[in-house]
Amino acid sequence: MISMEARLARLALKGDQRAFAEIVGLYQDKLYHMAYRMLNNRQEAEDAVQDTFLRVYKNLDRYDENMKFSTWIYRIATNLCIDRLRKRKPSYSLDAESNEHEGLDGYSMIPSDNRTPESETLLSEVQQTIHKAIDTLPAKYKTVMILRYLQELSLQEIGDVLDMPVTTVKTRVHRGREFLRKRLEREF
């Protein structure tokens, strides 16, 4: 049986824009939250979401119905966010090719953006600390943590989205968790 999204995608491909609007309705908030946490910037997050849907629309004919639609759309969105991070802060590529077994402590040296958007004030101090800490992570860890905790994807699904082995995803979740543990223990 084909999924609801695949059905909508087929209709949209035939020119039914309302079907595409349904897809936007299903994913816009999820993608926005993800992009906001990836980029830590409202305007950029909105742009990234718009770019994602535009790319989805233009590539509907390439959507492989054997893949979950969510996997496909998250893949497009994460790639666009990672591209934006790369373009934005070339000096933060500390981690570019470091291997998986390196400690993460060095990353805490990266200055975090101290600005607190209005929406963040609704979060507790602990929650803000967690978000700030995650924001200092290199993109590859950040992406995994966001897919895991914000989108609540399984390790296998994260592997599908990022096109990497589950063992790699696992390693990154574990390292990310250790990193946050140290941050929290230091501050609280």
């Binding site: 949209a12 824009q17 309705g25 816009q28 909105e46 609704l122 979060l123 968790r177 929290l184």
Partner: protein, 211 residues
């Protein structure tokens, strides 16, 4: 049990992926090892906080003015190309890559060569007895009563023949108008280089693909 293994298992446990058998062994280790027990408590707390942070995040971001969902939806829909392109032919081409390559090649060839020929549209007149020929603008005229003792070749022009040509007349990329008084003794030939060239090239491409 080694403490490194215990740490790794703690993470697997928090991921919900530690098999029952190992979970029992881990529990035994945690009861015996205060360092791992402390680490376990910290990680368990971290896991709970991270989950809480993201779930609060979703609520607060969605509820704030910071993110105007309706405005973004309008922007997204408004920016879509008005009519989705007819994609079926591209899908078909993807399934027939050889034809896709050939047709793209042919289109590129055709357009580039037509452009090239058009760019080189200068009038060229070659012949052995050009005294008999009148040239005005891009018109090459062999007037009534005139006699060209030899061949005449005209490129990129309009050729009007009312007189006599003893040899061959070749018109390349141009037009030929013959009056009733015209008399061409030799061979008369009209060549469209661009088309001939493209045709030649296409035949060769098709042969290459087939072989």
């Amino acid at each position: 049990m080694n403490c490194n293994v215990a740490t790794s298992w703690i993470h697997d446990y928090l991921d919900g992926e530690l098999p029952r058998e190992e979970a029992i062994q881990l529990k035994a280790h945690l009861l015996a090892c205060p360092a791992c027990r402390s680490r376990f408590e910290q990680l368990e707390r971290t896991e709970a906080y991270v989950q809480a942070a993201f779930s609060a995040d979703t609520r607060s971001l969605a509820g704030s003015d910071a993110y105007n969902a309706a405005a973004l939806t309008d922007r997204i829909i408004g920016a879509l190309p008005t009519a989705p392109k007819k994609r079926s032919w591209t899908r078909w081409l993807r399934n027939h890559p050889a034809i896709a390559v050939a047709s793209v090649f042919a289109m590129v060839m055709l357009s580039s060569f037509i452009t090239m020929w058009e760019q080189h549209g200068e009038l060229v007149v070659r012949g052995t007895d050009l005294d008999q020929v009148v040239i005005t603008g891009n018109r090459v005229i062999v007037p009534e009563g005139a006699r060209v003792n030899g061949d005449l070749t005209v490129e990129n022009g309009i050729t009007e023949v009312a007189g006599e040509i003893q040899g061959n007349l070749t018109v390349i990329d141009g037009t030929l108008n013959m009056a009733s008084t015209a008399n061409i003794i030799g061979e008369e030939k009209t060549i469209n280089q661009a088309l001939d060239w493209v045709w030649y090239k296409l035949k060769r491409t098709v042969n290459d693909l087939a072989s």
